[in-house]
């Protein structure tokens, strides 16, 4: 117990090694004029060393491909175990002004956080400006705006619906719900079998925001400077939240915290009959509920309007280059290589099961052609490649998603797990986030 306080003190000492504000850090480095091919060739053949922070398991394989192609470049991979562990470490290193990586894995929703502190290299002059056509449009919008290209997409998580065909049959239902109205109707029938149609965790703001995204909500915006807008309590978000509130209060949807042992058990023992999850979900589920192989099927996420075909996104990462990198050209080339070189990108998709973001891999038969026994022989990759095209292309984030997500747990998340007033908690969440934004000196529109 006493160790806790020590850890906090020590970690705080680490975290703030110089009380100069992150906001007024060194001016943005990097080229302003496009880098020429000669400069690139020269840099790529010279001896150099890069540090790469990531939590993708076994990414050394893709890094090896890079090192084979560019034998003079030595890339040191540092496994940071996960985003929530990595970002504080990264911020501390940035503040300390040393020990920062050249290339770093950053999730889409945290890009603006590191942009705001002016730590990301604008990759536009490094050849990334021409790459727009290589990526799915909504993914590209996540990393680029009219001020620059801030990262190279690595993977994404378009939302679908994984459901248990056997439970559906037991409930006398023939097909997965096409609309949320059908979902609510089917919830009754599913509950009759003893299962819940789904689980809505109170600790997963990422999923909730993905559902907001699908409903057409635009809860956040950021101009890249000092102005944000927060719109968490809108018509669309209320629609989503009141929908789930009704199901939860009628005991048709459970509210267990996700990604812990109880919840894994719930998936493998049929407590939850479906999971509204991103494209990375199928493989995850296969590992978690191996005993239910062959019983699952992937379907589209239910729609708010009959006949529409819109999805949202939940998760996914990028490779960004920090602007204090001593080898910006090499770092930028590395970020591009591991995510877009065909062999490397295909390996990420088929071996690390990162759902691809480039149109070429999404159409590559070596990716789409795979069938899965777990999903009764369905071509799940091909299915989600189709879903990826339907993701609403306009969605932005705030430069302080850590706070937005942690305050979710105290407001809307808490209301979900207490089965309480979720719509009211939405307003509370909005207030908290706006207060924080103002307190941090942002102009809130």
């Amino acid at each position: 117990m006493t160790l806790g306080a020590l850890a906090v003190t020590a970690a705080m000492a680490l975290a703030g090694c110089a009380p100069t504000g992150g906001g007024e850090a060194a001016p943005e480095g990097g080229a302003t004029e496009p880098v020429t091919q000669e400069q690139i060739d020269e840099a790529m053949s010279a001896d150099s060393k890069l540090t790469f922070w990531t939590w993708v398991p076994d990414i050394q394989k893709e890094v090896d491909l890079f090192e084979q192609t560019y034998p003079n470049i030595d890339v040191e991979v540092v496994n940071t175990t996960g985003g929530s562990q990595q970002y504080p470490k990264l911020r501390a290193a940035i503040k300390a002004g040393k020990g920062t990586p050249d290339v770093v894995q950053i999730e889409y929703q945290y890009i603006s956080s590191f942009r705001q502190t002016e730590n990301l290299l604008n990759l536009e002059p490094y050849g990334a400006g021409d790459m727009e056509g290589e990526f799915v449009d909504w993914v590209w919008n996540q990393v680029a705006d009219d001020q620059g290209v801030w990262a190279i997409p690595q993977d994404s998580g378009p939302l679908g619906n994984l459901y248990r065909t056997d439970i559906w049959q037991a409930a006398g239902l023939t097909s997965a719900p096409e609309t949320w109205d059908q979902f609510a109707e089917q919830a009754q029938a599913i509950r009759g079998t003893g299962a819940y149609i789904s689980n809505m965790p109170g600790n997963d703001p990422g999923q909730m925001v993905g559902l907001f995204w699908q409903a057409g909500a635009k809860p956040f915006s950021y101009d890249g400077q000092e102005t944000v807008s927060v719109n968490l309590d809108s018509e669309e978000t209320q629609k989503v939240v009141s929908f789930w509130q009704e199901l939860i209060q009628a005991d048709l949807v459970s509210t267990d915290a996700d990604f812990n042992d109880e919840w894994y058990q719930g998936l493998s023992r049929g407590k939850y009959a479906s999971w509204q999850v991103a494209a990375w979900g199928p493989i995850f589920l296969q590992g978690t509920a191996a005993n239910t192989s062959g019983l699952w099927q992937a379907a589209k996420i239910p729609q708010w309007q009959q006949g529409e075909d819109v999805s949202g996104n939940w998760g996914g990462s990028t490779s960004a280059v920090l602007n204090n990198s001593k080898n910006p050209i090499v770092a930028a080339e590395f970020a591009k290589f591991i995510n877009t070189d065909r062999e490397a990108a295909l390996m990420l998709a088929n071996e690390q099961f990162l759902f691809p973001t480039t149109t070429s891999i999404l159409e590559d038969p070596e990716f789409t052609g795979l069938t899965s026994e777990f999903y009764g022989g369905q071509k799940v990759n091909e299915f989600f490649a189709g879903v990826s095209e339907t993701v609403d292309p306009e969605f932005q984030w705030l430069p302080f998603m850590d706070y937005v997500y942690s305050s979710y747990n105290d407001t809307l998340g808490k209301a979900i797990s207490d089965k309480g007033d979720m719509v009211g908690a939405l307003a509370e969440w909005q207030t908290k986030v706006v207060d924080y934004a103002e307190q941090q000196g942002f102009t809130v529109e």
Binding site: A15, G16, P19, Q265
Partner: protein, 313 residues
């Protein structure tokens, strides 16, 4: 209580040794050399970070605009922060309920083992102490398995008996579940401190008491407990500090019951989350300092009270 007790005889100050000055100097030097490693580490790992945190706590940082000196602004903010006070209230409740249970249990086990009536005392002692050695990640997995609302062992036992199981991780029960984990972890630890103190009591006293016709319970109550008074006071002070610094257990339970624990379950967890989720290191430093101050005051008050009682006893 009212009988006047003669003041403790003042120990005679030994006559000053007239050692050779050179010998004295050498000894002083040796003492300093021996103490230096400690002082270096103490200074580098404790004083410097502490002073630095104090320094940090006098600034206010904003994502836009950076850091500016703000004096005691963070402290006044903390004093008006309901999350801080709620957390403090929670650990105070924890202190008043969990610590007595834990220490009485520890004392009971220590006395039982010391009475030498327990067969295989060494094994039992090890078993009781073992939880203290279990890594917290393993402990979290284990308790997660036991507490789980649907498939947890406790739930399964209740259901096996045809009873409805309580949800041990809901907001009203989670404090009790935390207390249980802390008891499990620290009873053994406190028991060892008390047991070690008991072993150093001279056996002659027990023999004398037995000759006077005292039974085991009388011996425990009138001789053993008073004899290890200092050890018990030590465990009380440790437990007070530990309670106020409650961090690891709620941090572990957070994965199992994120909404019941929240961000501000205990002041330490709150400071941690402010520093790393809200990116407000300065405010976190102020909260940590304020907490440290409160712990110091309470430890001091408790110690003074105990000492006063001891003097008047």
């Amino acid at each position: 209580m009212t009988t006047t007790v003669p003041a403790k005889p003042v120990t005679a100050v030994p006559a000053k040794h007239h050692r050779h000055p050179a010998v004295q100097r050498a000894q002083t030097r040796a003492a300093w050399i021996l103490v230096t490693p400690f002082l270096v580490v103490f200074f580098a790992m404790f004083i410097v970070p502490l002073a630095y945190s104090a320094y940090l706590s006098t600034f206010t940082s904003q994502l836009v605009g950076g850091e500016v000196f703000s004096g005691i602004a963070n402290y006044t903010r903390a004093l008006n922060d309901p999350s801080f006070w709620e957390g403090l209230g929670r650990v105070a409740l924890f202190l008043f309920i969990q610590v007595p249970i834990m220490l009485i249990a520890a004392l009971f086990f220590a006395l039982a083992l010391d009475s030498a009536r327990v067969r295989g005392g060494g094994t039992v002692r090890l078993l009781i102490f073992l939880p203290y050695a279990v890594p917290s990640v393993v402990a979290a997995l284990m308790w997660g398995y036991l507490y789980g609302a649907d498939f947890g062992l406790i739930t399964q036992i209740f259901e096996g008996l045809g009873l409805s199981a309580p949800n041990l991780l809901n907001p009203s029960n989670v404090l009790g579940s935390t207390m249980n984990i802390v008891c499990w972890e620290f009873i053994g630890y406190n028991m060892i401190i008390m047991y070690a103190a008991l072993r150093s009591v001279s056996a002659d006293i027990y023999e004398a008491a037995e000759i006077d016709g005292a039974g085991q319970f009388r011996i425990a109550w009138s001789i053993k407990i008073p004899a290890i008074r200092q050890a018990i006071i030590l465990t009380i002070i440790f437990s007070i500090i530990g309670s106020f610094q409650l961090f690891a257990e709620p941090n572990l339970l957070y994965n199992l019951a994120p909404n019941a624990i929240g961000n501000d379950f205990s002041p330490n967890l709150y400071a941690f989350n402010i520093a790393f989720k809200n990116q407000d290191v300065n405010y976190a430093a102020a909260i940590a300092f304020l907490l440290g101050l409160i712990i110091m005051i309470i430890s001091y008050v408790v110690q003074t009270l105990i000492n006063r009682k001891e003097r008047s006893a």
